[in-house]
């Protein structure tokens, strides 16, 4: 019953979102998010659920997307009339086929060997995508017009909002499908094989076969994400298949958190926002992204949701209140430190003209600006050093019953 309410709530949120963010840009970002969520969740089936570190997951996303665009082209040239709502499925099936083929020889081993095969396959396909022009369209990619598809109950999908509802429907189905998969024997065994492949063998299961199934399912949903991409952008390029694209999804899943089902969803939402909004304000956004990623790997091995989950024990014991004061005390110097460091980095990138940051004008050439920011940073750092022990103590008290040591996750 509770689950039903949750899923209904999820559907409701999906319905309401485009009413809140109804600008052209807002809807566009929502579409991007929907695609990213499906993609990141499919990656989680590999790494989070199945323990397979892949550096080439974009292969299935890209192949699914390319096939979907070709399917749309068939409709455009009136060879075949495929309803647009089914295009993502075509992408999914293509992703599934590719995963069945590649999985047949790569899932026998996990760990480094699997990671290296995924890297090799990814590089191979990315490189051949520029050579095999007839399918991949070279560097300008393949483009198709979605509005040629037969109207779906009068909807011609000429507007982004209409595409949003298509994407949201597929998002809902995919999230539900992947969630349910994790609750099936095959899904649970994937966890078992991730933790201890040897033991799974002595319980009657071939670790390779278990991985293969997860791999195929992950490929299928990655293909669906690719198909959604094709519907939304009406174009696929070699860039959708390459290592950078595979890296992106790794970042999403990891920053969001691999342990919990909603982790990658959070990661996908966050990274889409960063990708599509942050670059409007700073050219250094990739540097910040890299820093956030490395710090996450170092201090939050279970990602952002992992950090949230750490609060479960204090929550259950009703001691969350103990943390409010130390959190606030740490957050203030923490935020000041981060903001002043960002200010320094941004200042270093400006050549001329006043640089208005947080409403304060700075001059790139002047030592005063530099020293002021540096002084603020140092003061904030010293303050942070003094508030951190208090937070640590509060943590220890709040989660006293838990045998696990506290996490220094919020140290910037």
């Amino acid at each position: 019953m509770r689950a039903l309410v949750l899923w209904a709530g999820f559907a409701l949120v999906l319905m309401v979102l485009p009413l809140i963010f109804d600008s052209v840009l807002g809807v566009s970002i929502l579409n991007q998010m929907a695609i990213a969520i499906v993609f990141a969740l499919s990656y989680n089936l590999l790494l989070g659920q199945g323990g397979m570190l892949s550096f080439g997951h974009a292969v299935y996303f890209g192949l699914g997307g390319f096939l979907a665009v070709h399917a749309m082209l068939l409709t455009e040239t009136q060879t075949l009339a495929i309803p647009l709502v089914l295009i993502p499925l075509a992408g999914g099936l293509c992703g599934l086929c590719a995963a069945l083929f590649i999985g047949s020889f790569s899932t026998g081993r996990a760990g480094t060997v699997f990671a290296m095969i995924s890297l090799g396959v990814g590089e191979l396909l990315a490189a051949s995508s520029l050579i095999l022009v007839s399918f991949f369209g070279g560097e300008s990619g393949v483009s198709a017009d979605r509005t040629f598809a037969p109207p779906f109950f009068g909807v011609d999908f000429s507007q982004d909002v209409q595409v949003y509802f298509l994407a949201a429907a597929w998002l809902f189905v995919s999230v539900l499908g992947m969630y349910l998969f994790t609750r099936t024997p095959a899904g649970r065994l994937a966890n078992a094989v991730r933790d201890n492949p040897e033991r799974a063998r002595f319980l009657g299961y071939s670790a390779g076969r278990v991985r293969f199934i997860s791999f195929a399912v992950a490929g299928f949903f990655a293909g669906i994400a690719g198909g959604l991409f094709a519907v939304n952008y009406e174009i696929l390029t070699a860039g959708n298949l390459n290592a950078a694209s595979s890296g992106q999804v790794l970042l999403m899943a990891y920053i969001g958190g691999l342990g919990v089902f909603i982790g990658p969803i959070l990661g996908a939402v966050l990274l889409t926002l960063i990708n599509s909004l942050l670059n409007h304000y700073t050219t250094l956004w990739m540097l910040y992204l890299g820093l956030v990623f490395v710090l996450t790997v170092m201090f939050l091995p279970r990602g952002l949701t992992g950090l949230l989950m750490l609060h479960r024990v204090p929550w259950q014991q009703g001691r969350l209140g103990l943390l409010v004061r130390p959190y606030t005390l740490t957050a203030i110097p923490g935020a000041v430190l981060v903001l002043s460091l960002i200010g320094l980095l941004e200042l270093s990138q400006r050549e001329t003209g006043p640089f208005v940051y947080l409403g304060i004008p700075f001059a790139p050439g002047s030592a005063v600006s530099w020293l002021a920011l540096l002084a603020v940073a140092v003061i904030a750092f010293v303050a942070l050093r003094r508030t951190l022990p208090g937070l640590r103590a509060a943590w220890a008290e709040a989660s006293a019953q838990s045998p696990r040591s506290m996490h220094e996750g919020d140290a910037p």
């Binding site: 024997p185 649970r188 201890n196 063998r201 009657g204 076969r209 199934i213 696990r404």
Partner: protein, 254 residues
């Protein structure tokens, strides 16, 4: 027909022979212990039987069929289960999930991705009763990696017996336990393996003579005797090669 039959089994790594021409028969319902000094090849013998390692020569029959060429999961499916000397669990899964995973194949779920685990009443009921039997009821939702040592050993045993396999191999089931824990564990083993064929590797002689109705002695890769506990006690070669070496009760092991 013997449940398990080893004919002339040898195993060597490079030039060093670990096991030499081992013959062994284990009859249905038998409780068989394998003893021997460190490095005698006891664990290797288990690895060969369970398919973790390949025999260099000879053959192994389980219920009359050759299994020495099969991968471990095929052997397990035929009804041969084993435990490990060092607990080998699914660390991030809860105790309940660990046991449920062990029940999936025996209950015929295969690699299904069309059943929802929460809907499978029979499966869940069996898991719960197994939890009960192992005395892990209160630790139901704790990740296996966070269990105390004795609890981990109990779960290890649980994974081995969950499948109600006909033949169960236990590799030092009470190693590292104190006397009280060992006594409880033994009682548990006796209770849950009732009516099944059991092969145990164990250092602790009190355990061995307590539990086994037949004992085989492995010394430097050779099976020098296989007999009833009383006969083994009297066996001169065993005394010379093995019991002659003072082994303090309580079982010190590496």
């Amino acid at each position: 027909m013997s449940v398990l039959q080893l004919d002339n089994v040898s195993k060597s790594f490079g030039n060093s022979a670990i096991l030499r021409n081992v013959h062994l028969r284990i009859e249905p319902g038998e409780r068989h212990a394998i003893i021997g000094p460190n490095g005698a090849g006891k664990s290797t013998l288990f690895h060969l039987i369970s398919g973790r390692q390949q025999v260099s020569a000879g053959r192994i029959l389980f219920k009359g069929e050759a299994i020495h060429t099969l991968p471990p999961h095929e052997i397990a499916r035929r009804g041969l289960a084993r435990s490990f000397q060092v607990s080998s669990l699914f660390a991030q899964l809860s105790v309940f999930e660990n046991l449920r995973c062990a029940l999936l194949w025996p209950l015929g779920y295969g690699y299904s991705f069309w059943h929802l685990l929460s809907r499978e009443k029979a499966l869940n009921a069996r898991t719960e009763s197994l939890l009960d039997e192992l005395g892990l009821w209160q630790r139901r939702d704790v990740p296996a990696g966070e269990l105390a040592y004795a609890e981990q050993r109990a779960l290890e045993l649980g994974l081995a017996i969950a499948s109600s396999a006909e033949l169960i191999l236990l590799d030092e089931p009470v190693a590292g336990m104190n006397a009280t824990e060992a006594r409880q564990a033994l009682a548990l083993i006796r209770r849950v393996t009732a009516g099944k064929t059991l092969v145990v590797v164990e250092h602790d002689m009190t355990v061995v003579f307590d539990i086994a109705d037949r004992i085989s002695v492995l010394v430097q890769g050779e099976l020098i005797a296989s007999d009833t506990p009383a006969a083994i006690r009297r066996n001169a070669r065993v005394q010379e090669a093995y019991l002659g070496v003072p082994v303090p009760a309580g079982g010190q092991h590496a």
